[in-house]
Amino acid sequence: MFHYEKKLQYPVNIKTPNPRMAKIIIAQYGGPDGELGASLRYLSQRYTMPYPELKGLLTDIGTEELGHFEMIGAIVYQLTRNLNIEQIKAAGFDAYFVDHTTGIYTVAASGDPYTASSFASKGDVITDLHEDLAAEQKARTTYDNILRLCDDPDVADPIRFLRQREVVHYQRFGEGLALTVEKLNTQNFYAFNPSFD
């Protein structure tokens, strides 16, 4: 089961609203390499993981990603507080505004709504772990891009924390892959499909 804890994993405290920045950062709320997709990916893949270390790892990282989803929601929320219509128009936030006002919704920076087709759950430990390694790097690239576009230290600070987590998760998934390959039948040189057959 899941249980709510009434705090963020890392604090978000943004003094200056900035709807243009919100439009970009919402990529990590509902975009193809965002935190919602990350959480659903790991929490879905864990069921068919063959080894206890991987069941634990996917459960724990999938749960952490939900906390990151909440942090991104907090960033977008704080960036869009107390806006007037002129600021909304000037920042190009009007297209989002007409659909959602300042409600937080799972869309990519492009405005496309979240789609589960942005992740896979293939039921094969080798395939899924490679997807996970790639996903962490894609999210890390997205955070690098956000940092290239961001000039507010209040925003960059939690974004840097989230970027670092992608790097750590990549490391842990790499270890998960290494221990999987070790556990495979020694005759299985090409490391394929051990969870089904």
Binding site: H3, Y4, E5, K6, K7, L8, Q9, Y10, P11, V12, N13, I14, K15, E53, G56, L57, D60, I61, E64, E70, G73, A74, Y77, Q78, V168, H169, R172, E175, G176, L179
Partner: protein, 82 residues
């Protein structure tokens, strides 16, 4: 310590324990990591107890108080909470 300092202390301990937890998932027999996890976890539990006594519950399943403080502002996504 004020609320922000208390929150930061608790968050740092909790994060240290959690990051060690992920490491332990792929290295479950690493004694040093296990000792480190226990150390961070104990420190987190103490900090959390102090924080909750002063500022209200962080989880709705904890002991009930004289009043239902769970619903009190601020909620985590609000600036005032961080």
């Amino acid at each position: 310590m004020n609320r922000t300092q208390q929150l930061w202390q608790m968050t740092a301990d909790q994060f240290s324990a959690f990051d060690t937890q992920l490491y332990l998932d792929t290295h479950p027999h690493d004694r040093n990591a296990l000792n480190l996890f226990n150390k961070y976890q104990r420190s987190h539990q103490r900090a959390r107890k102090d924080f909750e006594a002063a500022h209200g519950p962080l989880s709705s399943d904890m002991e009930s108080y004289d009043s239902w403080r769970w619903v009190n502002d601020p909620w985590p996504w609000e600036r005032e909470a961080n």
